[in-house]
Symmetry: C2
Subunit: 571 residues, 2 copies
């Protein structure tokens, strides 16, 4: 007798599960209930339809229901919602949303793919007609129509996560004024605060007004009858439309009411074969937890990539296979105008929260050979376990080649590589694609010097604190005078250009704790090598140089000439 | 007492060695002899200077001699050639090429970075004034001047490797007629023949005339006094200039005469710390061998990436460190007009030559989400060890995103991953960067189905042979009629579109050996799953579909209408 598989929800995980179940078992009966009227649509493409990059709404509908049902021989019921699970009887109660009638459907295996919902905070005004979320195609269509009909001029985006940042770009490109309101002191919380500064500067450049550290208080109408957002400080942001992009939470009502275990993250708890706590019931996608590869703990990662993998495994396992889902690294990438920001593994904040001892360093290599046109720096923050040397995570921000490096770091994390071993990767080099010393190799080489004791990094935050604590630190800037003049120096620094260092080393006190810095860290590293081998007892390198210094520099305005303007740019 | 390090040669490996030696030992005496008048110039950038993409010759000179010498406190002797090694006395004999005088220089450690030379075959005419190699800046300058002065109209490039293909593009972009002559039956020998077809088609499209399987016989002047190249077939190619790009060979004369062991590849044999067979002598870069990570054998890999890593290790180890150089995967990438071709690990030919049993499959995923503008297919050939399931190599050809995938495959090779485990990598997904199922994940998923026994691939070459051997094979094309009509079918195939397969399965004989194919392999995989579970005893999938079929298709010209033109495009 053939198995009967019932799947509740048909976006990413549900369709993956159905297709895989069919490929594994041609004879199973497969029924898919989806409450909406489309399946497997491209949620992540919605902001790009709204800004006109994607021209056809049709193209977001990745899989057409009819051909999907035919190809995989699936009973596909659109506008049907699974409302209850009777796990003892192995039945679900389903509501046909077109007729509003309910019926019961038996299952041998049930796969929950109920997804997630946009978080709507319980605040005054969130229900107003100019306030939108962006989670479903319906949401998208509503925003599209509103913009076409009302031609809003001013917008507010609440929330600076992925969707918030994408929507800020989208609205700006549609010509609207955009104010982005975020409760935290930074956008893109998957980045550390310092790395987020790079994106914030870019958003600012693109005319997005940022109001950080500001919780939303209410949405309403101002004196003139126009819409407005009121934030924590009491400040009022006049606006014609509001996008709520505060995040999503797993849709677990169905599971919870049936007694399926909900994990600490609020999502359905599943084992590594996507089994829930109840027999014959699987869960996959945004409604389910995933395992974090680095912490070894469950985590909530509502990403299409996770949903596809879990869905595929659930489909196979529902018909008797044993496909494992392994841990995820929390890999995230987002486009923001001309910049890209990405993270894999843990950031510094998360590593600290996990009680780890992260060793942090920054590098700024080019995305491809500097002599080949169009090269831009990549800004990379690398988190290493100080105790074992293993890579814990990486953040990359830049204009090009960010996706490549984050994927190589993700592959390194999966394989539990040590940071210093990254230098051994045989990465592809030709001038249009990479420098001969690719960014990931530089991460490895610098990791090697860190662990060999050849240099000791000091973090920007630590140096900043010590400067402001009136510390007796000696700070040496080894850039060329021209760079110091144009870019400014760190408060209190003595300037000794690297080429003069050996000659002028007598000006410095070898017994005093010394911090050296340059533009990106390369020359300062060479300087610390010179100094530590010439009797300096305690010399550190400001990792990442002024390119990773997220605080203000002292602008200088001196007039001495600069001997060789090119010299400073080598590394 | 401080160590005295002498380095012979100062391009990639020599300068890496000098800089690293200094960083590791501030007190060493470091002497670098370079026979040319520049150091560390960007060899790989030269074709891009010649075609005008790189505007300034200056920008190829990555490191200026003076500032390098000053920064690293190095005695840098340009236009000095090390002519002999007296290893017993630990001395070298050096010729000052400006004065032609020689002198002896003592060393504690000697690092050989003598590089490689362009191969010039001993054939008539290679010395003619319109014949050039492209190995050094001098070569580049000569080509540049020749083109400026003589305005050649017709060119011949001898050799279809990296430099040959880059120079074909360069000359074509400068408006010359280009004939590329190659002895093998394909260009880019790091690719398998079938993958090379994709680049050859592109070269053809761009107006490069290919003469494959044709050895060079001679170069001379034709009847009218114009230059000409005569190839193996006797065919004459009239041309105003010739680029010889037959390859390079290690420059090991100095080492050989001193009694340093030369390895089976013809390059200097070194251990994993770049030590040669003679005490106190190291070698790095194009003159030295490297270890191949997959074969475990020494190999000759004259790449900048290898040179930099070996040079760095040699510099450190010369002053007493123990930096290891690990194996390389033979990773290569090349731009050819709008296409990119890359390889890491072994190709099929090499795997067979090594006596391995390679399991080969092809995939054609998009470089990013199909619904986001500008997506192009990546053509990927994956080589897996049939016995253990380990990834052995990958080849990627496409328009965008090739470099990213090859680097992830290279990271997988370093970590000895199984092909099927690639699916577990947590790669970054957002529509502009990747499909939710990234190419590498697809490689993993298909690898998983291969090893689970869910599908059995047949290779294009095998199917082609069996068709031409009048085999009793049943071949089924499951594409839509429109696709078959437009793209042609494989000779003898029966057409049953996938949506009709379950209904029309009775038309096929389940006891007959059957091969199914489609456009890229996805629908055929689904079809084989249906058929094998419905009693077909021997059903295989033509891996890669018609997109990987390097032979001619039968063009069809039928007139039946096509129900749903979009349907065939899903996967």
């Amino acid at each position: 007798m053939s198995l009967k598989i019932v799947i509740a929800g048909g976006v990413a995980a549900g369709t993956s599960a159905a297709a895989k179940a069919r490929r594994c078992d041609e004879h199973a009966e497969i029924v898919l209930f989806e409450q909406g009227s489309s399946i497997s649509y491209a949620t992540c493409g919605m902001p790009y339809y709204l800004n006109g990059v994607i021209k056809e709404r049709e193209s977001l509908l990745v899989v057409k229901p009819d051909s999907f049902a035919q190809r995989f021989n699936i009973r596909l019921c659109l506008r049907h919602r699974v409302e209850a699970i009777h796990s003892e009887e192995q039945e679900v109660r389903v509501r046909d949303l077109s007729t509003n009638r309910t019926f019961r459907e038996r299952y041998d295996r049930l796969i929950l793919c109920t997804g997630s919902r946009a978080v709507v905070p319980p605040l005054p005004g969130v229900e107003l007609p100019f306030v939108f979320s962006l989670k479903s195609l319906d949401d998208m269509d509503q925003i599209f129509s509103f913009m076409a009909e009302k031609s809003p001029r001013r917008s507010a985006v609440i929330g600076g996560g992925l969707i918030g940042v994408e929507m800020a770009e989208c609205l700006r490109e549609r010509g609207l004024e955009v104010t982005l309101v975020e409760m935290m002191e930074q956008v893109l919380p998957f980045l550390d605060w310092d790395m987020a500064q790079l994106i914030q500067a870019h958003l600012d450049e693109k005319g997005v007004r940022l109001l950080l550290g500001q919780p939303l208080k209410s949405i309403g109408y101002g004196a003139g009858g126009d819409g407005e957002v009121i934030i924590g400080s009491g400040f009022r942001v006049p606006c014609d439309m509001v996008i709520l992009a505060i995040g999503v939470r797993p849709d677990v009502e169905l599971a919870r009411r049936a007694g399926v275990d909900i994990g600490p993250t609020g999502a359905v708890s599943v084992d590594d074969e996507t089994r829930t706590s109840l027999p014959h019931i699987f869960a996959a996608g945004d409604c389910a937890e995933a395992m974090h590869l680095i912490t070894g703990k469950t985590a909530y990662m509502p990403m299409a990539t996770v949903a596809n993998k879990q869905g595929r495994a659930a489909g196979a396992n529902a018909v008797g296979r044993h496909l494992k889902v392994q841990g995820f690294c929390g890999t995230v990438i987002v486009k923001s105008f001309e910049m890209t920001a990405a993270r894999t593994g843990l950031n510094q904040r998360e590593a600290l929260r996990e009680g780890m001892d992260p060793l942090v360093h920054y590098i700024h290599p080019g995305d491809h050979a500097g002599y080949y046109p169009g090269s831009h720096p990549l800004h990379i923050k690398i988190i290493t376990c100080r105790r074992t040397g293993h890579l814990l995570g990486a953040q990359v921000v830049g204009r090009k080649g960010v996706d490549k490096r984050i994927d190589v770091f993700a592959a390194a994390l999966y394989n539990r590589m040590k940071t210093e071993d990254l230098i051994h990767l045989d990465l592809a080099y030709a001038p249009p694609y990479a420098p001969a010393r690719d960014a990931v190799l530089v991460a490895g080489a610098t990791g090697q010097t860190l662990f060999s004791g050849d240099w000791r990094p000091i973090l920007p935050a630590e140096l900043y604190e010590r400067i402001h604590g009136n510390d007796q630190l000696c700070i040496v800037d080894v850039r060329q005078p021209k760079e110091c003049r144009e870019e400014g120096i760190i408060p209190g620094a003595i300037e000794i250009p690297l080429p003069d260092l050996r000659e002028r080393i007598g000006e410095l006190d070898p017994d005093r704790e010394t911090v050296v810095y340059c533009r990106q860290g390369v020359r300062a590293y060479i300087a610390t090598r010179i100094m530590s081998q010439r009797g300096f007892r305690d010399v550190k390198n400001l990792t990442g140089g002024v390119l990773s210094w997220p605080y203000e520099l002292v602008k200088q305005n001196r007039s001495e000439p600069d001997g060789d303007p090119l010299k400073g740019c080598e590394s």
